[in-house]
């Protein structure tokens, strides 16, 4: 078992944890914000794919990296508006609408990608975000290379957890969002417009999802290929439940998850030939399912989640 100890003691593992966690943090925060306002957004898988594609495409065509992220966010917001139109204005089934948005945004991103980037032997690449060593902290032994040598979007994700946690629990807007997700009629009776709140949360949340997607192509990796999101969106939906709709626990969940992912990846090399690698790849999905079963009963689901709000109709 020396190998396992070696894995755990390597700074590379812990650095990878933060890297793997970053898109999950963005995605989970985005889904969490939507659900806090009462809207389940199963568009996440496709929106992350579109964000990955369009962010990369913008940079590939000469935009700088941050412009790429911004483009991804705007497109994510547009898909969010589509989902909100279907589920908030029309009050359609949030399940089916979300799946429709995922199918559309994913296939649309493949279409655009194929259209604008000709097939070639080696996939075209961009120059991605480079790790930034935080002065001072990164010089610390072990901890420095493990935690303080990340790309800017990763630091941004951590900051975002704090900002969203503050927004949701410490501001009047956060209270309005939570009330909308719990009882939109009560919110309305107290002068909050639940429709505006829901639109805002779904659009902003979807933008975060797309930013999470763009991290895959602009930071973790440097090119785009179809199916690269690999169910990360669905895992984020499960993580929201695990997080009990709290941003701080979303960070915890994403890190835990990323740890298992990074760990299994390194364990594979140790145990190759003994255990098929697919077993390790299954772990994240099975963990998500287990987390759902474990948390479902104890988590306090926003009471109006998946309930369409129509004025004057109770």
């Amino acid at each position: 078992m020396n190998e396992i100890a070696d894995i755990l003691a390597s700074a590379g593992l812990w650095s990878a944890v933060l890297r793997i966690a970053t898109p999950l943090i963005f995605g989970t925060l985005g889904a969490l914000l939507c659900e806090r306002a009462g809207v389940l957004n199963l568009g996440i898988e496709g929106i992350m794919t579109f964000g990955a594609m369009v962010g990369w495409l913008a940079v590939y065509n000469g935009a700088d990296l941050w412009t790429g992220v911004l483009v991804a966010a705007l497109c994510g917001g547009a898909f969010g508006a589509l989902h909100a139109g279907l589920t908030v204005t029309l009050g359609l089934s949030q399940h089916v609408s979300g799946l429709g948005v995922t199918l559309f945004s994913a296939s649309f991103s493949y279409y655009i990608f194929r259209l604008l980037v000709p097939v070639s032997g080696t996939p075209p690449t961009v120059e991605p975000f480079q790790p930034i060593a935080i002065p001072g902290l990164s010089d610390l032994p072990f901890v420095g290379p493990a935690l303080f040598t990340q790309t800017t979007p990763t630091y941004l994700a951590i900051v975002l957890v704090i900002v969203l946690g503050y927004l949701v629990f410490k501001t009047p807007m956060g209270l309005a969002i939570r009330m909308t997700g719990e009882n939109p009629h009560a919110a309305e009776a107290q002068g909050v417009n639940p429709i505006v709140i829901r639109y805002g949360c779904v659009i902003f949340g979807s933008a975060l999802m797309a930013i999470g997607g763009s991290f895959l192509t602009l930071s973790a990796f440097n090119s785009f290929f179809p199916t690269m999101v690999q169910g990360r969106g669905w895992i984020c939906i499960a993580l929201v439940v695990f997080a009990m709709w709290r941003p701080s626990r979303a960070l915890l969940g994403a890190l835990l998850f990323a740890f298992f992912d990074a760990f299994q990846f390194r364990l594979q090399t140790v145990l190759s030939g003994v255990v098929p690698y697919q077993v390790f790849l299954m772990i994240p999905y099975i963990l998500s399912i287990a987390a759902l079963a474990f948390m479902a009963r104890r988590a306090r689901v926003p009471q109006a989640l998946m309930q369409p709000f129509r004025r004057g109709e109770r």
Partner: protein
């Protein structure tokens, strides 16, 4: 001169053919409690919705503290200091008391909530009016009485000067209700003005300064509390000679259905409290009461969809306390649900499918539905019960409410049944359909069916019942003969005032 807190002048509101509010005027002085009394459909809700800007009145005006309210602007009403305490709370169980109260009270763009200030203000109000609450408690963990306090605090937090309480004690226990009245009086003394909507005469007499009675959309009477009594109010509220239509005398047969000390709990709340009744073949027992007093639980228990109950419920001597739908149907127990769209029919399915849904075993062999027989059965109902515009193959949602109800009656009563449970069987129907439904129920009675009628419509209960019991707060009154009853007595019964017998036996004397 006393200050006028609220001045509602000559308000009228028409919905289609019905005049919901007909030239109603109502004033409220500062520090006064006015009770608004009236049966369901008398126009109370419409009037309050106009006050809160949810409806725009056709005529008339509303002034608060001498300033006219713009019609149809809910926010203007709140800003002018009008607060509403709903019967069905508008609260979020997962949020804390403080969060529930302070939602929407601060600018949505401000960068941080002034939680400290809000907490101080809330505690100040709570102290001032004796409405003690823990601001950090999760709302869902509070008792119903405490939740009501939060609902009131919410209105006061918005600096309400005029407070409207819709049936504030409907969900409270007696002790909680007593405390509530003390609080209300205290609030009035401190200068708040209150409108208090109720059916319960004793509460009204004990709490209000002045009483306004609404009937059929009009303000028919106004009394200072010292000049009237519960009996007069009951008569004013019902407002008519409740005459019974002539019909054949009942010939009660064997004891069909009996409840002895039946108690039903749902989510920890006692919905039925040790009720007693007896029902014989060939008679109609009317259970009268304002909705929300346990009728739904009684219907669920008898219909086989309720959870475990205590006490004994028996059908022709067999205990049925824990029975299920399938048992009820096998026992020949006909059931008309309270809400036909919610429980009565599956709108997307064909008329014939709805006709046989609850008796599928009888219309199938080896799991295969005998469609021909089912359609024939549906056609038979359509013919025998005069269901207009129906064809067995069409979706049942195409039918009008009255014809849908005839279909439901028909699937139950096409052959003689021993017991019929009818919950609000004519609710929302036009007069022709009401007459048809009533005729069928009396026909069943003539054939020896034991009929339990649950209704909040006084006319309906008088027209159909042989005996009447009132349901109030999950309790059943002793039964009275429909021949001996008058409006005053019914009004008192519905208000929960019947002689305390202390002896269960007395309540099922026939």
């Amino acid at each position: 001169m006393t200050e006028l807190a609220l001045d509602i002048a000559h308000v009228s509101k028409r919905f289609g053919d019905t005049l919901a509010n007909d030239d109603i005027s109502l004033t409220l002085n500062r520090g006064e409690i006015v009770a608004l009394l009236g049966e369901n459909g008398a126009g109370k809700t419409t009037l309050m919705n106009i006050l809160f800007g949810h409806y725009v009145p056709d005529e008339g005006s509303v002034k608060v503290m001498g300033r006219a309210l713009p019609p149809g602007k809910p926010r203007a009403a709140i800003a002018a200091g009008v607060g509403m305490v709903h019967q069905h709370f508008s609260l979020a169980p997962n949020l804390t008391v403080l969060e529930n109260v302070m939602t929407g009270t601060q600018s949505i763009w401000s960068v941080s909530s002034d939680t400290g200030g809000a907490r101080d203000k809330l505690l100040g109000i709570a102290e001032r009016f004796g409405l003690a609450v823990d601001p950090d408690a999760r709302l869902g963990d509070l008792s119903v009485g405490e939740q009501q306090r939060v609902e009131i605090l919410k209105a006061l937090f918005n600096d309400a000067q005029v407070l409207v309480l819709d049936e504030p004690t409907a969900v409270l226990t007696n002790i909680e209700a007593e405390r509530m009245f003390a609080t209300l009086r205290d609030m009035a003394q401190q200068g708040l003005s209150l409108i208090f909507i109720s059916h319960k005469l004793d509460e009204v007499m004990a709490t209000a300064d002045r009483i306004v009675v609404l009937r059929n959309g009009q303000a028919v009477a106004e009394r200072a509390v010292g000049e009237t009594n519960a009996a007069e109010l009951a008569e004013l509220m019902v407002g008519r000679q409740v005459a019974r239509p002539v019909r054949a005398p009942s010939t009660p047969g064997a004891l069909a259905l009996e409840a002895r000390a039946v108690t039903l709990r749902h989510e920890g709340v006692e919905r039925l409290k040790a009720i007693h009744f007896q029902l014989h073949e060939g008679e109609v027992l009317g259970i009268i009461g304002v909705s929300g007093n346990g009728q739904a639980s009684l219907a669920q228990l008898l219909g086989g969809t309720a959870a475990h109950a205590e006490g004994t419920l028996s059908l022709f001597g067999n205990e049925i306390t824990d029975w299920h739908v399938v048992d009820a149907i096998e026992a020949g127990f006909a059931r008309i649900p309270e809400d036909r769209n919610h429980e009565g029919v599956v709108g997307e399915m064909a008329i014939w499918e709805n006709a046989i849904l609850e008796r599928l075993p009888a219309f199938s062999r080896k799991g295969l539905v005998d469609r021909k027989a089912a359609i024939a059965f549906a056609d038979e109902i359509i013919g025998a019960f005069d269901v207009r515009g129906a064809a067995a193959n069409r979706r049942i949602s195409m039918l009008s409410g009255g014809n849908m109800q005839k279909m439901i009656l028909g699937r139950n009563l096409i052959e003689p049944k021993r017991v019929l449970l009818a919950s609000q069987p004519a609710r929302g129907l036009d007069e022709g359909a009401v007459a048809a439904v009533h005729e069928r129920i009396l026909e069943a009675r003539a054939q020896g069916t034991a009929v339990l009628l649950i209704s909040e419509d006084l006319d309906e209960v008088m027209a159909l019942s042989d005996r009447i019991q009132a349901i109030v707060g999950g309790r059943l009154s002793p039964s009275v003969s429909a021949d001996d009853v008058d409006a005053r007595m019914l009004g008192l019964m519905m208000a929960g005032e019947w002689p305390a017998t202390g002896n269960a036996e007395a309540s099922h004397a026939v």
